[in-house]
């Protein structure tokens, strides 16, 4: 059977429905299912990835040809990001395998699969309304996962997320309505061709609504209030899911729409400006956090700011650098959340100060945390270095030294608070005997991530060669329209 | 070996002996002058010779370890080496020794060699007074080196040389002496010289009434004798250096002795009538007027 992009949505969705049923039979089956799904999806990625890099694969689902039918657009960007989602999803599953011990696990995996469905859907769809649907699927799964531990804090965080998230969906839906009312179509490619039909005023509204609506998902300042709570109160793998998958999908949606419909210098300027604000304020806030997962959350926001800056510059180089950074961030932040998850688990406290001495007690987990920290600061020989370098190069090429220096200011702050956390781990202190060990599946998950980070860091070419087509796909609206409408 | 080699070897022998004799005699004269100023009769001029011989003839010598043993050797090495690298008399192969192989900068560092060696020796004794004296002495040194180097730099950049022989060559004729050519440099240097000679008001290093003669407090017998020998030679060496640089050097011994003696009287007479500065007062003194004079000297050369 030929692998079709629709399977990226269908299989996780199917798995999501299957899992509760399997739960009646065997817990082990429940646990194994997502792994199988991800393996299968990766197999698909291997098949489709090279093809997509050459030419976008467009698939019609409901039988009508675009612009009327529902189309899936598996272009280079989508391929790149979906592959990333698959990898991250796989390690998250691996990590969750032993980490999520709290019943009902089938619920967790079901929601997880739903979330994957939604995210891949956002990345794949070529249809504006479908994007809304997938956004809702993702969001609902994410809200529930946030509150998965069913404690007070989790519920509060989930509620905040829900509150802000519903703004996001509403605004987005409004913008879809406006567009549909003027153009009569929902297909991205089609809308892009007919964008001039929309009067400027409505267009302005659409722009504001999309920027705010998707900005919420992409953690743009000041719309990211939900993030720190959600990240820190949800179980650790869910934090990785947010940082590695959900936010990336949201950002992709925003950028796709902006690049297709509104790619004017002013908008790009605005993106850069918001990116810088996001980056700096998040880094400053992260510096003063006392809880490790909140710190990671703010750092995540900061990284998204960096990506937004790079996307806002909008050159070929900067866009590919941004994609590279998204990839690296997804991996590194997952690694950090994984490590932090077990560190919190071992120390029994979320406070950074309480991590003292764990570096000697739990050397491997701490080591992975340190690797992640060094990588996300952008130190060689880890992958974070190259994406940061490429972003800076593209910024410098755009000729704005002030932005360059602001980004680097953010990086310095980032370096300081990450290292503070790391050295806290390695402060010599007698730790009460702790028989609990980090389970092997967690270590393997972290090991895999660390290995990829190191490998990409030593040989960035392996990712870099896919960046150009992916960036080209994202930037080049005309190609998208042509392919989308075939 | 040809005659020039013999002359050289003779020079190596005769120079330190002369320096010793002259230096010790100066010391005796200083004691007499001091006594006269204090309305006393004073010891005979040869008194310092008897003191040194007595110290050499002391039967026992107690030391606290290797460095105390070596300290005086360091001191004598520094003074004799410095002397060898200073042209004592103009154009006289007997008295030039090694002066073409080193220069003022070398001498500046060579002079410290002895102080540091002595300081090490004093440190080895474990006497707190010695350590205090050393700390004071080294601090004082930082003080007076500033105007001294300012003055030397003024002269060195004026004549574009760091060699003493060349500086002496510049000063042919009475009116060309550097004391007249660059008087401000001379003033700065001579004020620094006061500190260098450790006479009052800059005698805080040895201050017998305060810290029991400071670095020397545990030295007796041959160690003290060697120190005094080295001190005498060093005094002479410094005087010759100043004469060479500022007073046009000397062609014969009599001129040299007259010039050095006059020069020596400046710190001596200052010392007799002055009380003692505290260390930080001394340092701030050196960093005020002498430094200003030094800077003026440089500015005059530059402008």
């Amino acid at each position: 059977m030929e692998f079709s992009p629709v399977l990226y949505i269908a299989i996780p969705l199917f798995a999501a429905f299957l899992i509760p049923l399997l739960g009646k039979v065997s817990k082990t089956l429940v646990k194994l299912t997502p792994g199988i799904v991800f393996l299968y999806l990766s197999y698909g990625s291997i098949l489709l990835f090279p093809k997509a890099m050459e030419k976008p694969i467009v698939q019609v689902v409901a039988g009508f040809k675009p612009p009327f039918g529902i189309s899936l657009y598996y272009g280079a960007t989508a391929a790149f990001l979906i592959t990333m989602v698959t990898i991250v999803g796989f390690v998250i599953w691996l990590y969750s395998y032993k980490f999520i011990i709290r019943e009902p696990i089938e619920k967790y995996y079901m929601l997880f699969m739903m979330l994957i469905t939604g995210s891949t859907g956002i990345l794949l769809t070529g249809d504006m309304f479908n994007m809304f649907v997938f956004l809702e699927i993702t969001s609902i799964a994410a809200y529930s996962l946030t509150a998965f531990l069913r404690d007070k804090d989790g519920a509060e965080a989930a509620f905040k997320y829900l509150l802000i998230g519903s703004f996001s969906s509403t605004f987005y839906l409004l913008s879809v309505m406006i567009i549909y009312s003027y153009t009569g179509t929902l297909n991205f490619a089609d809308i892009a061709g007919k964008i001039d039909l929309i009067p400027p005023m409505a267009k302005g509204f659409v722009l504001v609504l999309v920027l705010v609506g998707m900005g919420i998902e992409a953690e743009m300042f000041p719309l990211n209030g939900w993030a720190p709570d959600a990240y820190s109160q949800a179980p650790s793998p869910v934090g990785a899911v947010f940082g590695g998958i959900v936010v990336k999908a949201g950002l992709y949606a925003m950028i796709r729409i902006v690049f297709l419909f509104f790619k004017t210098p002013e908008v790009m300027q605005f993106l850069i400006f918001m990116g810088i604000l996001t980056l700096l304020i998040a880094e400053m806030a992260a510096m003063r956090q006392h809880q490790i997962k909140r710190m990671l959350a703010f750092s995540s926001i900061g990284q998204m700011g960096l990506v937004i800056i790079a996307l806002g510059i909008g050159t070929m180089g900067s866009t590919s650098a941004a994609l590279f950074q998204m990839f690296n961030h997804a991996l590194i932040k997952s690694l950090l959340f994984f490590a932090a998850g077990y560190l919190v688990f071992h120390s029994g406290s979320k406070q950074i100060e309480d991590l003292e001495g764990l570096g000697y007690d739990k050397p491997v987990t701490s080591f992975f945390f340190a690797v992640g920290a060094l990588a996300i600061i952008g130190l060689p020989p880890f992958s974070g270095f190259w994406s940061k370098l490429l972003i800076l190069v593209s910024v410098a090429k755009a000729g704005d030294i002030a932005i360059l220096l602001l980004i680097l200011t953010g990086s310095v702050i980032e370096a300081i608070y990450y290292l503070r956390a790391v050295v806290k781990l390695y402060t010599r202190k007698e730790v009460p005997d702790n028989v609990r060990r980090t389970p092997i599946s967690g270590l393997v998950a972290m090991g895999v991530l660390a290995a990829i980070i190191l490998y990409v860091g030593l040989y960035p070419g392996v990712i870099e060669k896919w960046l150009a087509p992916a960036a080209n796909n994202l930037l080049n609206a005309a190609d998208y329209i042509k392919a989308g409408l075939f | 070996m040809d005659s020039s080699t013999w002359i050289k070897i003779l020079g190596y022998i005769i120079t330190p002996i002369t320096a010793f004799v002259v230096g010790v005699t100066y010391g005796g004269i200083v004691r007499v002058i001091t006594a006269r100023v204090q309305n006393r009769f004073g010891p005979p001029i040869t008194q310092n010779f008897w003191d040194i011989i007595k110290l050499y003839s002391k039967k026992t010598a107690v030391h606290h370890g290797l460095m105390q043993h070596w300290g005086p050797i360091f001191a004598i090495t520094a003074s004799v080496t410095s002397l060898f690298f200073i042209p004592v008399l103009k154009d006289s192969p007997l008295w030039l020794n090694n002066s073409f192989n080193g220069d003022i900068i070398f001498l500046l560092y060579m002079m410290v060699f002895g102080s540091l060696g002595m300081a090490l020796g004093a440190g080895q004794t474990g006497n707190p007074n010695s350590a205090i004296g050393v700390a004071r002495g080294l601090a004082l040194m930082v003080g007076y080196e500033v105007p001294f180097v300012l003055a030397l730099v003024a002269i060195m950049i004026q004549f574009k040389t760091t060699s003493i022989a060349e500086l002496m060559a510049v000063q042919d004729g009475f009116s060309n002496w550097l004391i007249f050519q660059s008087p401000f440099a001379f003033i700065a240097a001579i004020l620094a010289f006061l500190g260098m000679m450790h006479y009052a008001p800059f005698d805080v290093t040895f201050a017998p009434a305060e810290i029991a003669s400071g670095p020397a407090s545990e030295f007796g017998g041959k160690y003290l004798a060697l120190m005094q020998t080295s001190g005498s030679i060093f005094t002479f060496a410094k005087l010759v250096l100043f004469t060479d640089i500022f007073l046009g050097g000397a062609g014969d011994l009599v001129t040299l002795i007259v010039k050095t003696f006059l020069l020596y009287m400046i710190p001596v007479l200052t010392g007799i009538v002055n009380p003692r500065y505290r260390t930080e007062q001394a340092i701030t003194f050196f960093w005020k007027w002498p430094t200003v004079f030094g800077i003026i000297a440089i500015l005059i050369v530059v402008l």
Binding site: - | R40, P44, I53, K59, A61, S213, S217, L224
Partner: protein, 183 residues
Amino acid sequence: MEVSYDKESRKIVQAIERFARKHSLWVLAYGTGCGAIEVPPTMTSRYDAERFGIRGAATPRQADVLLITGYLSVKTLKRVIRTYEQMQDPKYVIGFGSCTINGGMYWDSYNTIKLLDMYIPVDVYINGCMPRPEAVISGFIELQKVIAEGKAEGARKYKENLDWYRANQQKIIHNWNMPDYNW
């Protein structure tokens, strides 16, 4: 140095040494009793002891002459002994004033020593209570004479009869905690 010369030259060397020693007497500035008040006038302008090569020395290592200026309490004796032992050979002791000879006006005091020679070897005594600077200077000249004759052998005597001196010292110094590294 003395070892390698023959008799004649050793004599010459000895003569020079004695002459130098005689003319260079460094007095340790250490006042034990009321007599110390006479030392400053001796040294300063009026009497000017420096004429004879006499001058003060700051520490026992540098000094030749230990001047016991007057009465010596038992407490001070301990310090004097230590100071004396720290001086380097050849070294001389001048007993200054009557107190060092027979206790003087403290003859019946329970805590002063009566005869200095019992505890450290004295080369020259200066009589008087207290001796005037002229007397002090004449005492020094007497010491110079003794040195020139080669008879100032107090230090050697002390070394040879150390046990006797120690016994005497320990007899009256009850808290004897002199470190043994001195000898």
